[in-house]
């Protein structure tokens, strides 16, 4: 068993829900909808956490892609741009779970597995080095 976060983007006309049912039935995958967005009825975005056997997850992703659904692996909903980050530490002030932390040599590290997706760090970064993936 493994758990993986994926970001699905699909044209509005291809309904997300039936596809999801298909994933459960055919590929024995459990999933959690972490976030759902609909952008001006043009496209929809779903952030899913899926759980299942590795082979089933892979097959499920192939199935989604065959149905014109964009699938992107997501480690975390926020990404730190290393070229912009100066390791000032301002973002660590608002990260309540320690997903953003200073190392012993005062560089910033991002533990994406701990992230709670509160998005506070995006606004806290004076260099605008953190952006939301979704």
């Amino acid at each position: 068993m493994m758990t993986k976060k994926i970001l699905l983007s699909f044209p509005q006309k291809s309904a997300g829900q039936p596809m999801a049912m298909e994933l459960i039935k055919t590929y024995h995958l459990d999933f959690n909808i972490l976030k759902a967005f609909i952008d001006d009825n043009i496209k929809g975005t779903l952030l899913l956490e899926i759980k299942g056997e590795e082979a089933d997850i892979e097959a499920g992703i192939v199935f989604l892609r065959q149905n014109q659904i964009g699938v992107k692996d997501i480690q975390s909903v926020v990404e730190v741009d290393e070229n912009k980050c100066v390791s000032c530490g301002a973002c660590t002030a608002v990260c309540a779970v320690g997903a953003l932390e200073m190392t012993a040599d005062w560089s910033l590290v991002h533990h994406d597995d701990k992230c709670l997706e509160c998005m506070l760090c995006v606004k806290a970064c004076p260099m605008r080095a953190i952006h939301a993936v979704i």
Binding site: V86, S87, C88, G89, A90, T92, A93, V94, A96, M102, D105, W106, S107, L120, K123, A124, P126, M127, R128
Partner: protein
């Protein structure tokens, strides 16, 4: 045995000067004692890289044909001062742009210029007999300008408060985002590596001191604004609250965009991260004893930023070692601490300055005038009445 600036500069020229950072010197003094260390070490490099709002650039664009006396000036949509001579301006770091607000301000324009980018210059004028043009719209790069120098009226604060929020609302401040109910503490210092904390009584740093400024060789040009040498000090002379500040000057054309960066403090405004390194000549044992200071012996106050008064309450006096540990105990509760200035970059700057001196590319400049001690701060009184 005392050393002179000239003797140290001669050693630098011969490639024999012993140069270490203000962090490295602590171990050397512990091992050899102050007396021997003062003989062995010639220069100690200090540095800081953090937000310094009171910053900006003087620019001269050269004359167009026909010429203009620039009145209203914007650069990439950021207003610059039009009250100087025809094509001179001052661009302040915190000035927000007309289109993007604080997300892109004067500091961002300055960074873009230093990075060699072309910027959009728009100017208007009434038109005069000698300057007939009334409008101008063009694109310029740093290399196209006659002069471009940073003149920052207040940089490298000697010590600064740590911030906390005692209210039940989240606060957006120049000390970063402060979580409600004393959720976190922020602080901004390079501590034992910080320039003015290594020379607390300004024995070697004064007008004319040559420095690392944004990657260029710049100078201390004056005392900084809100210069407070009358601040409370410990028995050795280290300030316990914000103390001295410096006004700095340096040629933008020699700077590196890595060390001058635009910054945004959410809900507060634009600011500029400035990289500064200051060499401290070890002239005698007294100066060596000062630079050997450690974070555990440097103190500041945790101040409640939720109180909308000039005099904000102090909750606790803490050492920089405690702040650096990651949490501070206040009223029995452990509160997370976070830095706002980059120690990593400050270390890089101290190393870079160190290399310049070792290679003989950078020489010490003795101050041509010392700054006053015992200088205190004035507030601003609000006076009633329409005319006086």
């Amino acid at each position: 045995m005392a050393k002179s600036y000239q003797e140290i500069n001669e050693k630098i020229a011969r490639g024999e000067a012993v140069v270490v950072t203000a962090e490295e010197v602590i171990g050397i003094v512990k091992e050899r004692g102050v007396k021997e260390a003062a003989e062995y070490v010639d220069v100690v490099t200090t540095a800081t890289f953090g937000p310094m709002c009171s910053s900006g650039a003087f620019l001269n664009f050269g004359h167009s044909d026909p010429p203009i006396r620039m009145g209203e000036i914007t650069i990439n949509g950021v207003e610059a001062y039009g009250g100087l001579a025809a094509v001179d301006t001052y661009l302040g770091a915190t000035q927000p742009s007309k289109d993007r607000g604080i997300e892109y301000g004067g500091a961002h324009v300055i960074h873009d210029l230093i990075a060699g980018k072309e910027v959009h210059l728009v100017a208007k004028s009434q038109g005069t007999d000698c300057y007939p043009r009334t409008e101008l719209d063009t694109w310029v790069k740093l290399e196209d300008l006659n002069e471009a120098y940073l003149f920052n009226p207040r940089n490298v604060y000697q010590n600064y408060n740590a911030a906390i929020n005692g209210s039940s609302q989240r606060l957006y401040t120049y000390m970063g985002i402060l979580q409600p109910n004393m959720g976190n503490i922020t602080y901004s210092t390079a501590g034992e590596l910080s320039p003015l904390l290594n020379d607390p009584l300004l024995k070697t740093i004064g007008m004319g001191t040559r420095i690392f400024f944004g990657g260029a060789q710049g100078h201390v040009s004056w005392m900084g604004t809100q210069f407070n040498t009358a601040c409370p000090r410990d028995d050795k002379g280290y300030p316990q609250t914000p103390g001295a500040t410096l006004a700095l000057i340096g040629n933008m054309k020699e700077m590196d965009p890595k060390y001058i960066r635009g910054a945004v403090y959410e809900g507060y405004g634009a600011s500029m991260f400035v990289g500064v390194g200051i060499p401290i000549p070890i002239l005698n044992e007294e100066i060596m004893a000062f630079v050997a200071v450690e974070n555990k012996d440097l103190y500041t106050n945790v101040i409640d930023y939720s109180v909308p008064k000039k005099a904000k309450p102090t909750l606790k006096k803490v050492s920089y070692a405690e702040l650096r540990s990651g949490s501070v105990d206040i009223n029995g509760k452990s509160i997370k601490t976070s830095p706002l200035s980059s120690l990593k970059m400050a270390r890089e700057i101290a190393e870079e300055l160190n290399n310049w001196i070792k290679k003989g590319d950078f020489f010490l400049q003795e101050p041509i005038q010392s700054f006053p001690m015992g200088n205190s701060l004035k507030g601003l009184e609000i006076k009633e009445g329409e005319s006086r």
